[in-house]
Symmetry: none
Subunit: 241 residues, 2 copies
């Protein structure tokens, strides 16, 4: 139930970031945006950066306190720039996304992002069930707010997809062993006809080509195309129409 | 070897996005930025959005063609907004990141991003070993460029943290992107010389062949063998000794 997952932004300074967050959320099928005390909202820059996700901005809930934004939530995950803290369990994005998705089946849950420069305060972290940390370059660790929302929303979207059985890739109609056998005989004959083969070398060469085409796992169409080329090499048939 | 991983942006329109990409890369310990024909660069907006990652902008390589950006790369991964395509294998961000990290131990690799509005062209996708698709909301699928780089860079960073040695297949001396480009030009010319091509069909046919050889991941010897065959097809050289 992605509709039960709230993205909560606390004291956001730059309206452009709010727009970028809306777009990132909508890309990942999230829709519930809560803004705690945004410095400037609504704002033209937010709408512009939302780029078609302005419906999320229109429906965003603007509230005064974090507690209002978290009202009714059974699970609250706070984002932290620190990989570990003294008191809170810190999870990976993947693990926290799985928990958010699993618990969202049971009720409302929230993922909370702090200020652009300083993150969440200790008393805000107090509201969180656990924290999530996005692994980064230790010497340059500050992710842009929109980017952090994008990464975590992506993990939430994946976690939600993986609840349902994964789809198999559409089956290619692979060439059968007998078709491949004829294919390689044809190739050998064609190379001979154009004077490419060399008695000492040809066995090794043909093995090389065999290994290449096995690796490619040729499908039936491809065998036909290549055999067309071999015939043209042999001058038996012209493909120019 | 995260230093062997190139992020390549093709025909970027908005300098702000270039800045956001630099920041996203640096957050995830990536440093090699290639810009193919940026509309405006360098630019104050790029520097501002880079927010302390301007060293990456200073060292970015600005080139005129995608081929220049891919020169020397043994693996090229292209980003695609489509979850599947007819001819190219499409992988998940996680899987592609693991491959990029594993192959970067052996040489240069590239992750290519297209235009903000229209992505990569078919002929640009032709240069790619395989594609990667970020799963998104099907009704609102267009990720901002910086966001797409952030998600994939994050997966690359995680894959690098989690990498286990000996993940890469025993090193074959793979053909580089520039060698493959010449290879395909030679193939096209050779097919033309033997009268195989047909104006209506040839583009589709060549793409089919490209996909086949990309899938096979040709090594340098194989490229030489096949080009020998092409030359023989063209009658330029006889291999009979």
């Amino acid at each position: 139930m992605l509709n039960n997952i709230r993205i909560v932004l606390v004291d956001t300074s730059h309206p452009g970031n709010i727009g970028a967050v809306a777009r990132a959320m909508k890309n990942m099928c999230l829709s519930q945006l809560y803004l705690v005390n945004p410095l400037q909202f609504p704002d033209a820059e937010a709408t512009s950066r939302a780029s078609g996700a302005d419906d999320l901005l229109d429906r965003a809930k603007v509230v005064e306190t974090l507690d209002q934004a978290l009202d009714g939530c059974r699970l609250v995950v706070g984002t932290s720039a620190r990989a570990r803290t003294v008191n809170w369990p810190v999870t990976s994005p993947r693990e926290s996304a799985q928990k958010l998705v699993a618990e969202s089946e049971l009720g409302d849950v929230a993922l909370v992002f702090g200020r652009e420069r300083s993150g969440l305060t200790n008393s805000e972290l107090d509201r969180c069930t656990f924290l999530v940390h996005i692994p980064t370059n230790q010497e340059y660790s500050s992710l842009n707010l929109g980017m952090a929302v994008q990464v975590l929303s992506y993990e939430v979207y994946l976690a939600n997809l993986q609840k349902t059985p994964a789809e198999a890739e559409p089956a290619r109609d692979l060439a059968t062993a007998d078709m491949l056998q004829s294919f390689h005989s044809h190739l050998e004959q064609a190379l001979d006809d154009i004077g490419f083969t060399d008695t000492r070398q040809s066995e090794k060469l043909l093995r090389r080509l065999r290994s290449l085409f096995q690796r490619a796992r040729l499908d039936k169409d491809e065998v036909n195309i290549l055999r067309g080329i071999f015939s043209a090499m042999q001058g038996r048939k012209s493909m120019r129409r």
